[in-house]
Subunit: 139 residues, 2 copies
């Protein structure tokens, strides 16, 4: 398999996620991180695209495991949209989304584009884990 000049950064991402660099994982890294722009995906679409082109075959289980490991290591972010399918984002900065209920696609909203000027205090003993907004849109 041909791995771009970013090999080192992939190995570093994998090692810091407690994963050995294998050819399956490097292929996933290349697909996820060898790009100009961040993007959103589901495991289903990732699996199809990873295994469409030639080269190393990657099982669905490995895709699930790697995505999960990258998510807990902070290299991917999980976005809650519909109840039936997990969406992930290679943009790990805090930001908001439009979710189009027709096309089922996510679009980034820069963090500064939504201003919450009033937010309630959480119940005592609890703290806010995350305050990212998903705005549902439709035709």
């Amino acid at each position: 398999m041909i791995i771009s000049g970013n090999l080192k950064t992939y190995v570093q991402k994998l090692r810091s996620s407690n994963l050995r660099p294998t050819k399956q994982r490097l292929k996933i890294c290349q697909f996820l991180f060898n790009r100009e722009k961040t993007f959103h995906f589901t495991v289903e679409t990732l699996n199809k695209k990873i295994n469409k082109n030639i080269g190393t075959k990657v099982s669905l289980a490995t895709i699930y495991n790697t995505v999960e490991a990258f998510t807990s290591a902070g290299y991917l972010k999980e976005i809650l949209t519909s109840k039936n399918k997990s969406y992930y984002d290679t943009n790990t900065k805090s930001h908001h989304h439009f979710y189009d209920e027709g096309s089922k696609e996510l679009t980034d909203i820069h963090y500064s584009q939504i201003k919450l000027s009033k937010v309630p205090i959480p119940p005592k003993g609890k703290k806010i884990k995350n305050l990212e907004v998903v705005i549902r849109i439709q035709k």
Copy 2:
């Protein structure tokens, strides 16, 4: 089965949801709407509570169907929390929520308790369907 004095309102809710008033559906109505305060539930908890006490047995399929019909008729609201389970709310007014990731419970936040002073314009041809915020909290 004993149905409270709200029978007429249940029949009206059912009829306007294009459902005939059956004893199963009236039992569900009574459990959902014969209360002082609104509340949040999942199909799993609803099924357990409906079928715990004596009286008409209601199948899981009927519970799913009735909850779905009430949701599209606007008598229940679906709240998106986790990706694995649907949550519903008998409070159908527009409002926000805390979602406790530990206890997996929802708490209402009155609509006026969150102020969005800046909201982006949706992509052309699309409109905002709903802008209710779920704030994830934890210990």
